[in-house]
C-alpha cells in the first residue's frame, strides 16, 4: 500500500476535463494513494488514430513515456482507458518481443532515452478493486450511497483484448461494480452493459448516437430508477453525456440519467464537498442526484 505510482493523467482529462483529475486526486489524497508527477510526458499516444496510422509511431511514442517512468523507478497509474490501452499494450508488446524492443530503442537512443521493458501499467480501477483498498474505501466513507442504483459502463479498451489487458473477465467484468458496491450502492444489470460507447467509431457520428440512445433508453426503462451511469474513461464519460442529450432531443424520449466519472462518485461517498466537484459541468445536469445528496 505504500507503493507510489508514476501518475499519467493523459491529455483529455488534464487539458479538457480537469474537474475529473481534481476528483481523482481528492480520492487518492483521502485514501492515501501515493502519486508521483511525471514530467515531459506526451500524449500516450491516442490508441485508435496512432495505431491506425503507423504502428511504429504509436509504439515508439508510448515507449518514450514508459521510459520516463522506468527512469523514475515506478510503475504507471492511468485514469483514462485510452491511455491504459496504449501504455499497457505497448508495454506488453515490448516485454514479449525482444527484436521489436531493440528496434524501438534504436529510435529512442537518438533522443537519449532507453526502455528495458520492465514498467507495469495499471488503470486506477485495478488498484481500488483490490481487497486492501476496498477495506480502506469502506472505512473512509462519509456519505454511503445505499440509496442509489448505479449503472456501470466498462468500455472496450479497459477489458479487451483480455490476453493483453489482463484486466478482468472479458465477458463478465466486475471490478467497477465491486468498487461501487463497496460505496454502498446497488449496481444494476442490463442487456447493453458491455456495449461500446461509439466514441472511437469516428467516421460516422450516427453509430455513437445509436449506441448511446439504445443504452440510455434501456436504463431509463428499467424497473429501478437509475441515479447515474458511471464510466472510467474521459471519452466514454463525455460521449454518453453529450450524445444522451442529443438523443433526447432527436427522439423526444425522456433521457435524463446523469453520467459521472467513477472518481467523482467515489469523491461524493468519501465526503468531498459537492461545491468542490464540478457536477453541473455536463450536458445532462445531475439535478435529481444533487437533490438526493443534499436532503
Amino acid at each position: 500500500m505504500e507503493k507510489s505510482y508514476a501518475f499519467f493523467p493523459g491529455c483529455n482529462i488534464p487539458l479538457k476535463s480537469p474537474h475529473l483529475e481534481k476528483a481523482f486526486r481528492d480520492v487518492a489524497g483521502i485514501l492515501g494513494l501515493k502519486l508521483t508527477e511525471m514530467e515531459g510526458v506526451s500524449c500516450c499516444p491516442e490508441p485508435v488514430s496512432l495505431q491506425s496510422l503507423n504502428m511504429d509511431t504509436w509504439v515508439a511514442l508510448g515507449a518514450r513515456n514508459l521510459a520516463i517512468a522506468e527512469k523514475m523507478g515506478l510503475d504507471i497509474l492511468t485514469i483514462c482507458s485510452g491511455c491504459f490501452e496504449t501504455l499497457k499494450t505497448v508495454s506488453v508488446l515490448l516485454e514479449e518481443d525482444e527484436e521489436y524492443l531493440k528496434k524501438i530503442n534504436v529510435i529512442l537512443k537518438k533522443i537519449n532515452y532507453t526502455y528495458s521493458g520492465k514498467v507495469k501499467v495499471y488503470h486506477f480501477v485495478e488498484i481500488f478493486s483490490q481487497p486492501e483498498w476496498l477495506d480502506k474505501i469502506k472505512s473512509s466513507i462519509v456519505r454511503p450511497l445505499d440509496d442509489m442504483n448505479i449503472a456501470v459502463h466498462y468500455g472496450c479498451h479497459l477489458i479487451r483484448p483480455s490476453k493483453i489487458m489482463q484486466f478482468d473477465h472479458p465477458e463478465k467484468p466486475e471490478k467497477i461494480d465491486i468498487i461501487i458496491q463497496n460505496l454502498g450502492a446497488k449496481t444494476v444489470e442490463f442487456a447493453n452493459k458491455l456495449e461500446c460507447c461509439g466514441f472511437c467509431a469516428r467516421l460516422q457520428d450516427e453509430i455513437g448516437e445509436k449506441l448511446v440512445e439504445d443504452k440510455m433508453t434501456e436504463l431509463c426503462e428499467l424497473e429501478e430508477e437509475v441515479d447515474s451511469l458511471i464510466a472510467v474513461c474521459p471519452a466514454c464519460t463525455t460521449q454518453y453525456d453529450r450524445k444522451e442529450k442529443i438523443a433526447a432531443r432527436k427522439t423526444g424520449k425522456t433521457l435524463d440519467i446523469p453520467v459521472l466519472y467513477l472518481a467523482e462518485m467515489m469523491a461524493i461517498a468519501l465526503g468531498v464537498k459537492l461545491e468542490d466537484l464540478s457536477l453541473m459541468n455536463r450536458a445532462v445536469k445531475p439535478n435529481k442526484l444533487i437533490e438526493k445528496l443534499t436532503t
Partner: protein, 176 residues
C-alpha cells in the same frame, strides 16, 4: 450490403495475405475458418460495406485494392470484441489496424485520423496546448489547485513522428 466482385484469377494479388501475415502479430490471419463470430458480435456490423469475416476472406483471396480502399477498415471502432471472441485466435482488430497502416502508406487516410497526428506533432498532446488556449487551460487548472503541466520537449516528439514515417502526414496538414 456488399456488392459482388467479379475478378479474373490473374488479377488477384495472391501475395497479399503474406504481405499482411508476415507483420508482427498478424500471422493469425491465415487461421481464419470463416465462421463469422467476428461479424456477429461486431459493434459496427450494420454500418460497414464489408463485414469483418468478409474483410479477412478478401485478404486471403488477394483482393488488395478492394480491402485497402474499403470504408469498412476505417469505420471499425476497435472495440476488440472480434479478437476477444475468435475461436481460432485471429487477432482481427490488430490486423485491421495494420490494414489501415497499409492504406495510409498508399495515401488513403480520412482526416478524422490524420488530424490526430497533426495535433500531437504541434502540441505533444492530442489537445491543442499553445498560446491563448494554453493560458486558459493553465488558469483553469490553477483555480482547481492542480499541478502545473510540464509538457514534453516538442523536438523529441517530432523526431519520433518523423523517424517512424509519419512526418510528411503531420507536416503537410500543418500548412493547410
Amino acid at each position: 450490403m456488399t456488392e459482388m466482385v467479379k475478378k479474373n484469377a490473374s488479377d488477384l494479388d495472391t501475395k497479399f495475405r503474406y504481405e499482411i501475415s508476415e507483420k508482427v502479430g498478424a500471422k493469425s490471419l491465415l487461421k481464419c475458418i470463416q465462421c463469422g463470430v467476428c461479424s456477429s458480435g461486431c459493434t459496427v456490423t450494420e454500418y460497414v460495406d464489408m463485414q469483418p469475416h468478409r474483410v479477412v476472406a478478401s485478404c486471403l483471396l488477394g483482393l488488395r485494392d478492394e480491402v485497402l480502399s474499403s470504408q469498412a477498415i476505417w469505420t471499425c471502432s476497435l472495440c476488440h470484441r472480434c479478437t476477444e471472441r475468435c475461436p481460432k485466435n485471429v487477432d482481427y482488430s490488430f490486423i485491421l489496424a495494420l490494414l489501415r497502416n497499409m492504406a495510409v502508406k498508399e495515401g488513403t487516410v480520412p482526416k478524422e485520423y490524420s488530424s490526430t497526428v497533426v495535433t500531437i506533432y504541434n502540441n505533444g498532446f492530442v489537445v491543442p496546448y499553445t498560446g491563448g488556449l494554453k493560458d486558459n487551460i493553465d488558469r483553469r487548472r490553477n483555480k482547481m489547485g492542480l499541478p502545473q503541466i510540464v509538457p514534453p520537449d516538442l523536438e523529441e516528439i517530432r523526431f519520433i513522428i518523423e523517424e517512424t514515417g509519419l512526418g510528411e502526414l503531420a507536416k503537410n496538414k500543418e500548412d493547410k
